[in-house]
Amino acid sequence: MEQAMLSIRDLDFHYGEIHALDKISLDVFKGEIVTIIGSNGAGKTTLLRTTSGLLGKNTGGTITFQGQQIENLSPHKIAGLKLNQVLEGRLVFPLLTVRENLMMGAYLTKDKKLIQDRLEYCFSLFPRLLEREKQNAGTLSGGEQQMVAVARALMTGPELLMLDEPSMGLAPLVIKDIFTTIEKINKDGVTILLVEQNANAALKIANRAYVLEIGKIVKEGPASELANDDSIRKTYLGIS
């Protein structure tokens, strides 16, 4: 079996006394879309933020990305490893223009040609952002801000892109667009780890899925299989 791109083993995380992640193990292989679904408070965001180091030190277990152990690295170092995250709630830089936001994503890249290529790629993915290039990101609509967040993450040139609830607070039509774009990014060679509450949409585009419940992985398997699983259908898809 081939080596996983991202492999998490027995990951623990505590918020003080609260055991937020309980021995989580998962693998993401190159080229896949993997989704983690779960309800509020299941630990989805915690899992992503622990992986990218933004929550500080995890309390146990290992995280390996492309053969390198990263669980003890600080977040700005991890950001330089072609592993990048679109944060929950579209954390854009509100007072910077769209273009400045994107350039901030390329902060660690010094090759001007490469930055220009990526910028063009982002604008081809999201033509709307090109129209709004000089507008402050804070004045954009929710969907457009999400585009900025995704584009900014792409500017880092990631091989693995982690998305934290890209559908949160968006209209159904916009969600559809975002998911189509995620599929396109994946086809262009970026591996995707997608965390979602909107299990319906996520399972449609994913290859494999994990179900997270109160800090534990309770189910895993091919997305199509999980979409037909009775308990999943009941709990997450709203179909009885």
């Binding site: 933004l54 977040p75 950001a79 954390l91 830089f93 509100p94 400045e100 901030m104 902060y107 660690l108």
Partner: protein
């Protein structure tokens, strides 16, 4: 799209800066020779003070306006700069008392600015982990500690009596003594103001500057973009402290006297007030704030206690109607004008 005004183009900005600079050099010279606007010598002291406060507010702006970190303790850095330079140059105190040797004031001002920057960096190590009110408390405590040291370590600082006859700045035999000519000192201050403002502009437009702005906008997202947030916050504190330390040195060699009362907590609040009044996060705001507040404070001396009342009302007006400070006035007016014309501009 709104058309950019002439002064928003690069060429326009350069010309405007050159004109202002020429006026700042020539007008006091003409005044000194009684050609125009006959003024007493006190006026130059006012100009020097504005220059010094401009340096301080610009330094504070790097920390507050660009990095988004609040500090209510900048009078502490000001104090370190002032007392540091006195102790290194005064024949009767500090270095002079201990060894009999003193440093030339201009050298000590620069050295003390560097020392203040180091202290700023040290303070930033715990401060970089704090936000909002916790950071305010820490910087207030810092201010208080420095003040108490200046006030109580009498063997070092002469306590609350203060130290008089601080030596004047001399560069290559050319004296900047404020006793003989206040105009000369004005030019010295002007020189430092210009250098430090140019440096500030370069810092803000550099990679470091972009990192600082990203931290202000959103620390988590900045971290995700690969910016070492703690390191940049420490840098910001150090640069800010450098500016204020240098201003402290300039201040004390102008006044020729130093006492702890200048560096009470209230002084830090005034620095923040100047910055908010002028507008933070740009080049002009700190200058405007320093100038207007200094004029209000000094010009309204005759009104005694009512001064604070006027001061308070003005501040309230600014906060309510012009939250971007005086430097945002241009934008507000052009926005109003555009609306008046029936909304030609869409932004």
């Amino acid at each position: 799209m709104k058309k950019n005004g002439f002064f928003e183009t690069k060429k326009g900005k350069t010309i405007a800066a050159a004109v202002i600079l020429a006026l700042l050099v020539i007008i006091p010279l003409l005044m000194d020779n009684n050609i125009i606007l006959k003024q007493n010598k006190y006026f130059y002291v006012l100009l020097c003070l504005i220059g010094i406060y401009t340096i301080i507010t610009s330094g504070l702006d790097i920390l507050f306006g660009y990095t988004g970190q609040i500090s209510f303790g900048h009078a502490g850095f000001f104090c370190i700069g002032a007392y540091g330079s006195v102790l290194l140059t005064h024949p009767g105190w500090g270095l002079g008392k201990l060894t009999g040797y003193v440093l030339p004031p201009i050298l000590s001002i620069l050295l003390v600015a560097c020392i203040t920057a180091c202290i700023g960096a040290l303070l930033a190590v715990p401060a970089s982990k704090l936000v909002f009110h916790f950071l305010s408390m820490l910087t207030i405590a810092f201010n208080q500690i420095i003040y108490l040291i200046a006030n109580n370590f009498s063997w070092l600082t002469n306590g609350s009596i203060g130290i008089t006859s601080v030596p004047a700045v001399t560069i290559l035999g050319f004296s900047f003594s404020t006793v003989s000519s206040k105009l000369r000192y004005y030019y010295l201050v002007l020189f430092f103001v210009i250098v430090l403002l140019v440096v500030k502009t370069h810092i803000i437009n550099s990679r470091v500057g972009r990192g600082l702005i990203a931290i202000r906008e959103n620390p988590t997202a900045a971290n995700g973009c690969g910016i070492n947030v703690a390191k940049y916050k420490i840098m910001s504190f150090a640069i800010s402290a450098f500016y204020v330390g240098l201003a402290g040195g300039l201040y004390v060699h102008m006044i020729g006297f130093v006492s702890p009362d200048t560096f009470i907590q209230n002084t830090s609040v005034i620095f923040i007030t100047m910055l908010l009044f002028g507008g933070s996060g740009n080049l002009v705001g700190p200058i405007l704030g320093a100038a207007v507040i200094t004029f209000i404070q000094e010009g309204l001396q005759s009104l005694a206690d009512y001064r604070m009342l006027i001061y308070g009302v003005l501040l309230l007006i600014i906060i309510l109607f012009q939250p971007q400070g005086l430097s945002g006035l241009g934008k507000t007016f052009s926005g109003l004008a555009a609306r008046g014309k029936g909304g030609e501009s869409n932004g």
